[in-house]
């Protein structure tokens, strides 16, 4: 079950840059990110907006950028893939360090979980990495995530995923109407589709199709099943 947020390549690059900057300087600013990626500050701002929407970063107006917990996780994951790829290319295939680093940068975004795990296995077998490598933490996380279903808002669920309603956070009439329509605790929902611009969304609940806005879906807490 692969229902987590999927990030585009450039988003992963941003995340990685922020992660590295924070590690190096203790904080990340828009200009630093722009410099380290070699792109314009305005495009960085757009990228940051998207990351913010997905809850991966936090940014006070004009303040430094911070990673949220899930942001750190996502960044660590990309970073780790990079390390493993680099080691694999450099140590086992004998690729030059610069080329290996560059290639790792491009491959990290598309590397599947399976190939990644096989690479890690191979590297361990040949004693290129040790037990403390980031790979283990990352693989454990992956396991844990699979075990524990995530709580999230109905609005951020992707098409095709199923969930169980935990709580309706809206108040008053809207809440009552939602409850009348069968969207209360324990109801199973499935996201069937999204209209243009992602709004409104169509869900299947209690055997019928219901169309509701992102704003409305953002008030319904669900647990993926």
């Amino acid at each position: 079950m692969e229902a987590k947020i999927t990030l585009s390549e450039s988003m992963e690059d941003y995340l990685e840059a922020i992660f590295n900057l924070i590690k190096k300087n203790g904080s990340a600013r828009v200009t630093d990110i722009a410099n380290s990626l070699g792109i314009a500050a305005s495009s960085v701002n757009q990228g940051l907006k998207k990351l913010n929407q997905q809850g991966l970063i936090k940014q006070q107006k004009y303040g430094p950028i911070k990673l949220t917990q899930s942001g750190v996780q996502a960044a660590e994951k990309v970073n780790c893939k990079h390390q493993i790829l680099y080691l694999f290319l450099h140590k086992t295939l004998g690729v030059k360090p610069e080329t290996a680093d560059q290639d790792a940068c491009s491959i990290e975004h598309v590397l599947s979980q399976e190939s990644f795990e096989k690479m890690v296995d191979y590297l361990i077998k040949n004693n290129y990495i040790e037990e403390q490598s980031c790979a283990f933490k990352f693989m454990e996380n992956e396991e844990e995530e699979k075990m524990a279903a995530k709580e999230l808002m109905l609005a951020s669920m992707s098409v095709g995923s199923k969930a169980e309603v935990l709580k309706i956070e809206s108040k008053g009439r809207l809440k009552r109407k939602l409850m009348d329509m069968g969207l209360n605790r324990g109801a199973r929902v499935e996201v069937k589709g999204k209209a243009p611009m992602g709004d409104p969304i169509e869900i299947k609940v209690r055997g019928y199709s219901l169309s509701l806005r992102q704003d409305e879906a953002a008030e319904i807490l669900v647990k993926e099943v």
């Binding site: 009439r173 809207l174 009552r176 109407k177 939602l178 409850m179 009348d180 329509m181 069968g182 209360n184 605790r185 324990g186 069937k192 589709g193 999204k194 209209a195 243009p196 611009m197 709004d199 409104p200 169509e202 609940v205 209690r206 055997g207 019928y208 199709s209 219901l210 169309s211 509701l212 806005r213 409305e216």
Partner: protein, 622 residues
């Protein structure tokens, strides 16, 4: 809370036994009503077809009693979320028995309302409708078990095919007070004691569920037990569902696949555009040109009008006042009849026919969901697409339909936009005829101008009026093949009621124009408007007549432009002004009735101001 006052009073006939038809939206209540009373009310496949309470008498076979049957708007619960629900609530509260129509395919959703009505202590009979669809979807429902769990009779029906309706009709006196969710806890005690105090178990339950209106009516505080009661009720429904449904086949028919494609951006938008193009081809091209060409030109203008003049003129000379009144330029027997039956009737019927297909197929709510995002930016809700599309048929009709919108704010915006920038089918035909010869350039200018005005007006109203767009929450019914008989019946009924409503107003308009012309008032008004028409809009002074006629019927105005010789620019400017100008007198009267006079006057003057303002700017720019 301004929307749900008790101001919404409904006349409930007294005396006979009151049978109320209740159910979720789009479960087929209106078909039952038609069958029970023989009175036609519109049946569609979109939620919210029933806006008013229809009532009728019926007398079941072999029974002595007469019954009054009341239809209600579809609701998910008896409460006061909006006007529709408040109306349904008041009718249900007055019921002697409720025929609860339940969609067998969506039992899990629909039984919630059933249980609520049972909890109110009102005798209920359940009509388990859409059994054919349930069977097709592989649903097996244990009817006896359902009946004994609920404690009320359950009759299976397939209303669109007429199956089971007769049985329901003859069983209304078998309705029973069912098994409530209240057994022996504090909720039951509280409900019992409250019911005794206010002498109504139904109202007591609604107060316990926190309904502010019912509480106020009884001079009591609404109680905070809703969550607990709802939880119990949902729990019970889940148990019932578990014990009565044995097979739940997943619906993966062709219909549900197409229905799904209609909502996806990549396929949904082309499908919507294709639908609108088809509408244009049918009404805008085929009906407006081919059919109207035959009815108006060939029949009414060439055969009917000379014929009627031939009869009347030997008795009343055409130059006299009455000659003009009856068979003159704007004569009651000439222009009124020609326009009503030769031009309007084919256009309106064509439009209603297409719309009936869209409604019955279940495509409408899908369009509503698809355009919701766009309409929220002008303060409306996706649902507003229904009055907006209807407006292209007839603004008067569409104004009435604005009732299905959830708040007063949305109704004002929709009504204003309808009056301002939506040309009705009659007008559209004439406009299309006038603008087509001018070439694409002018057509584009016209469309763009109207569109910009529409969006600007909506955006400004959205900013100015307090509040925000209401919740969408629209249920998407399964796609169904429209039945030709229902489509034709609906087209016929709507066209007929349109002619009935519009015909007399049309005649009065013609009368006023003739009187004004004969008394010289028309010339006087034309002259007084010269600064506006000639100076500001750069049009010949006769166009003033056209604008005045535009008030009587918008298409009168547009058609009047035919007889003036105008340049391309002048034609475009006049068409823009006529489109934006006040809607016809029939639509205006409807606006006064639906809104109050203050808002209607605001709409009236607002559209005058916009029409001449935009027209002037356009004349200056071109």
């Amino acid at each position: 809370m301004e929307c749900c006052d008790i101001s919404h009073q409904i006349d409930i006939p007294s005396g006979s036994q009151k049978i109320v038809l209740a159910g979720n939206p789009n479960v087929g209540k209106s078909i039952f009503f038609n069958k029970f009373t023989g009175i036609y009310v519109a049946v569609s496949n979109y939620p919210g077809t029933t806006l008013d309470i229809s009532s009728g008498m019926f007398n079941p076979e072999n029974k002595d009693n007469d019954y009054v049957v009341l239809d209600t708007p579809g609701v998910y619960g008896v409460s006061s979320f909006n006007d529709e629900e408040a109306v349904a609530r008041d009718v249900i509260l007055a019921a002697d028995a409720v025929v609860n129509i339940v969609d067998a395919v969506h039992l899990e959703r629909d039984l919630f309302l059933t249980q609520q009505i049972i909890d109110m202590g009102i005798p209920v009979i359940v009509a388990l409708n859409m059994m054919d669809e349930a069977e097709r979807n592989g649903l097996k429902i244990d009817i006896d078990e359902l009946s004994s769990e609920l404690g009320v009779p359950v009759i299976t029906t397939t209303a669109i095919k007429g199956e089971g309706l007769e049985e329901v009709k003859n069983s209304v006196d078998k309705s029973k007070v069912g098994n409530t969710i209240f057994n022996s806890d504090f909720l039951k005690e509280e409900l019992d004691s409250l019911a005794e105090k206010i002498n109504s178990r139904a109202e007591a339950l609604l107060i316990m569920e926190g309904d502010p209106n019912v509480a106020e009516k009884n001079n009591r505080q609404a109680l905070p037990h809703r969550e607990k009661i709802y939880k119990k009720r949902r729990h019970r429904i889940n148990n019932i569902i578990d014990s009565v449904i044995s097979e739940n086949g997943e619906n993966s028919s062709l219909g549900s696949k197409i229905g799904h494609l209609m909502l996806k951006p990549l396929t949904g938008i082309p499908m919507l555009l294709a639908t609108l193009y088809l509408l244009y081809e049918l009404v805008g091209v085929f009906v407006a040109q081919t059919v109207v060409g035959i009815t108006e030109e060939t029949f009414f203008l060439e055969i009917y009008e000379p014929f009627i003049r031939g009869i009347v003129t030997p008795i009343i000379p055409i130059e006299s006042f009455f000659g003009q009144l009856f068979v003159g330029e704007f004569g009651l027997f000439t222009m009124t009849v020609t326009y009503t039956f030769g031009l309007l009737l084919p256009l309106v019927a064509g439009f209603y026919f297409f719309l009936a297909i869209l409604e019955d197929s279940g495509y409408m709510p899908r369009i509503a969901a698809l355009v919701d995002r766009l309409l929220t930016s002008i303060g409306l809700n996706g649902r507003a697409i229904i009055p907006m599309l209807l407006g292209f048929g007839c603004v008067t009709m569409a104004t009435i339909t604005t009732r299905l919108l959830g708040s007063k704010r949305e109704r004002i915006i929709a009504t204003f936009l309808l009056g301002l920038a939506i040309p009705c089918s009659a007008q559209l035909g004439v406009i299309a005829g006038l603008i087509a010869p001018l070439g694409f350039e002018y057509f584009a200018i016209y469309v763009l101008t109207i569109f910009v005005v529409y969006v600007l007006a909506g955006t400004i109203l959205n900013k100015v009026l307090p509040g925000k767009s209401t919740d969408l929450l629209i249920d998407i019914p399964p796609l169904r093949m429209p039945r030709l008989s229902n489509v034709l019946q609906k087209t016929y009924m709507k066209s007929k009621s349109f002619i009935k409503e519009a015909g007399p107003i049309f005649a009065i308009g013609a009368l006023i124009i003739t009187v004004m012309q004969e008394t010289g008032m028309l010339t006087a008004i034309q002259n007084s408007l010269i600064p506006l028409t000639v100076g500001w809009l750069q049009l010949p002074k006769e166009t003033a007549t056209v604008f005045i006629m535009g008030i009587i019927r918008r298409d009168f105005g547009a058609a009047g432009l035919n007889s003036l010789s105008l340049t391309a620019i002048q034609t475009t400017v006049s068409l823009v002004v006529i489109t934006l100008f006040v809607p016809c007198i029939a639509a205006m009267m409807t606006m006064f009735r639906e809104r109050n006079w203050k808002e209607a006057l605001f709409i009236w003057f607002g559209s005058w101001f916009t029409a001449f303002g935009v027209g002037g700017i356009l004349a200056y720019l071109l």
